[in-house]
Structures are given as structure tokens and as C-alpha cells.
Symmetry: C2
Subunit: 207 residues, 2 copies
DNA sequence: TACTGTAAGCTAACACCAGTAATTAAGAGG
DNA sequence: CCTCTTAATTACTGGTGTTAGCTTACAGTA
């Protein structure tokens, strides 16, 4: 219709600055400590102004979760695409390493997505589910490729289930590492990851 | 030295009632929503009275975490002791099932222990670590028994590492289940657990 | 019995939080 | 120039953890 009024397009880009400040705060203090008023202080604005851009705190959290999934999915895709299609083993390892790297680089984002839900927050599944699925897509497609190549060791499980199991194994390991719940006697997170990933490959795929 | 004054021992047992109310609240609303004032309302006392029994909110949380670990460790021990010492496979399965059962029965307690830390809370490791270790004890001892019986399939990993890996697998699965992060297409939590546990046994132990 | 000290409750208050209502300043379009 | 909309503001409500200071009841002692 009518061209976007200039005032709007030029508009202060405050929405993005709010999200940026929120990330800044999350990486410092963790997701559950996210405070609209602290964001407002950081940005030198009045707290209620945030409500011009997000209907409430949950809406902001949802936006952050979407961004985090987006980032994770992108890293997965890059790790996957970085290697030749036919080298399934290399692609699998690349995906796995990229997954852990992302998690330990952005532990608070990882926890925001997969950790204990924030007190009052309930994720709008219909918004998040599609993009959440995308972060598993690279893994599923590699498993399917192994299957098509006849290189699956387990015959009685379908590809999706295998992918989910691989994911929960990696997820559990990564989560334990970034929440500092590794037993003190155990090997380091990265060592353990390497061992576990070898075991995963060994159990499911002909190398 | 001098005998505990009667007034103290008879004392209102308020401390236990606070903890009880806290559990009640946690199972309803989840750990991060725990509120001292809400507890006080439930018990018809003034909020600051709680500070007679816990130096601050974190101290209460620590007490709750200890109780939760205690309960988990006890369940593990019972599951372990319920079966003959020599039937390693049965004991392992029993431990595994008990672990998941406990987690799905008390999801909020499980999340309290292993989930995203509560906003300001930092766990006093020296208090928690010993009892936390106990909840892995049953598993470690079974793995050691398998080792002594010469029934370990993997030769290059020590018992502790194997136990930790088994735990992180089960942990990841259980956590994904109770935080509702299972991909919609995947099998149910209990089915997945059964599959995964079979894979675990198959990979590490001679049956 | 009367006195004293302490433990454990209380109210009041502070500083923070999310969110709402009402108001103002500024700019766009007629 | 006037009006309408948008995005900012301040003021406020009701929630949170926590501290300070007061009060009450009771144990131990003289």
C-alpha cells in the first residue's frame, strides 16, 4: 500500500538492541536471571518501552530461543556442508564436533533451549517445533545416507530413532559438561566426548 | 555438653514443615519458581521467620538438593540390593529402570538436581559432591563386578569411565523426556529407554 | 518467686522484579 | 494547521528476597 513511513523504517532499531542486550545479559548471568529492567538500564531507556516491541517477557524469551535454534541449526548445516557428500563418516564427526563446540561456546544459549524451562515460561510449540526440528536435520540426513549406503549395523531400528538416540547421548554428555555435573574423577568433557562419539559410530555404522 | 534444652528439641518442627511446603511447591510449579513468601503463606507464618532456619534462600535450596540426592541414592541402592549379587545383568537393568522411574516420578526433583541452576544459586560443591557421588555408586559397583567377572566387552576404558558414559546416556534420555524435548516423531520415553538400555548392555557387557 | 538471656516469632521497610495505565512529544498525512 | 498514530515517558500495583528492630515466651539461675 502506502510506502512505509520514514519514521518507522529508520526507527531506532531498538528491538534489535533489546535482543542484543538480552544476549549480553544471558551470557553473563544465565537465562533465568534475564530481567527486562536490567536490559532497560543497559540501554538507558525506561523499562516499559520494551513492551512496545515484545508483548511480555515471554515473547522476548521466545524470540531469543528462536535465534538460538537458528544459530545452532546454521552451525550444524555448515559443519555438514563443509565436507563431501559421500564421506559419511567425516560428515558425522563434523556434525558431532560442531554440536559440542556450539554448546560449549554458548552454554547459556544451549541451556536456554534445552535446560530447565524458565519459571512461568511455556514455549509456544507451534512456533518453535519447526525450527527445533531443523537442528536435528543434519544428523538425520547423515543417518539416512548411511542407511541408503547399506552401512547401518542395527537393522531393527529406523533412521529417526537412531538419530534421536545419538542426539540424546551427545545431549546428555554436553549438558552434564556445561552444567558442571561431571563426576570429579571422570575424564574431561572433550575427552569423554571423543570416546563417546567413537562408541556411537562403532555401534551404529560400518566405518 | 549440657543437655539440649527442652524448648529446642520440642521446637515447632517448623524447619521440616518449611521443607515439606517447599517440595509441595516445587512439584506444583517447578524449582525455579520456589518462593519463600509463598512457603510462608502456606504455613501461615511471616516470611522472615524462615530465616530462623535457613540463612537464605540458597541454604533452603541446598537442603532440598541434598534431600533429593539422598532419595535418588536410596532408590538406586534398593534397586541394586533387591537382586542377587551374582546376577549382574538383572542388577544393571534394575538400577537403570529405578533411575528412570525416579526421574519421571519426581521430574521437578530431578531438574532441581541436574537442570539449569536456579538464577543466583551456586551449589556448595564440598557439601553436595559426596552425596552426589553416592547416586552413581550402585552403577559403578555393577560395572566393576562385570569387570571382575571378565564380562566387559570394551578393554580400553576403565570402569569409572564406562559408568559415567552409561549415566550420561541415561541422563540425556531421561532429561529430554521430562523436559518435553523429545522430537514429536520419536518413540515414547519408555520405549526409547528400553531400546537404549538394550544397546548399552549390548555394547559394554557380555550378557 | 523474680530476673535475665536467648530463641523465635513478628511488623516495617528496602531494593528489586514484571506488567499496566495514563500521559506526553514528535512526526506524517490530509 | 490540525489531527492521528507511534513510541517514548512517569507513576503505580503487586510480587520477590532480605534486613533491622521489636516483642514475646520460656529456660536457667539467684
Amino acid at each position: 500500500m502506502s510506502p512505509r513511513p520514514k519514521g518507522r523504517t529508520i526507527k531506532s532499531d531498538l528491538r534489535e538492541r533489546i535482543i542484543e542486550a538480552a544476549w549480553e545479559q544471558i551470557s553473563r548471568e544465565g537465562a533465568p536471571a534475564l530481567s527486562l529492567r536490567a536490559i532497560a538500564r543497559d540501554l538507558d531507556i525506561a523499562a516499559p518501552s520494551i513492551y512496545n516491541y515484545f508483548v511480555d517477557r515471554d515473547a522476548l524469551v521466545t524470540a531469543l530461543i528462536l535465534e538460538a535454534y537458528e544459530s545452532l541449526a546454521l552451525h550444524q548445516k555448515m559443519a555438514n556442508d563443509a565436507l563431501p557428500v559421500q564421506d559419511l563418516h567425516a560428515r558425522l564427526v563434523s556434525i558431532g564436533n560442531a554440536y559440542r563446540d556450539w554448546a560449549v561456546t554458548y552454554p547459556q544459549r544451549y541451556l536456554l533451549i534445552f535446560g530447565t524451562p524458565i519459571p512461568g515460561y511455556v514455549a509456544p510449540l507451534e512456533t518453535i517445533a519447526p525450527i527445533a526440528a531443523r537442528s536435528l536435520h543434519a544428523l538425520i540426513s547423515v543417518v539416512e545416507s548411511f542407511h541408503l549406503a547399506g552401512r547401518l549395523k542395527v537393522a531393527n531400528l529406523d533412521d529417526q530413532t537412531i538419530a534421536v538416540l545419538i542426539w540424546t547421548r551427545v545431549h546428555g554428555l554436553v549438558l552434564v559438561e556445561i552444567t558442571n555435573n561431571l563426576p570429579p574423577i571422570s575424564p574431561s568433557g572433550s575427552q569423554l566426548f571423543e570416546i563417546e562419539f567413537r562408541l556411537i559410530v562403532d555401534q551404529f555404522f560400518v566405518d
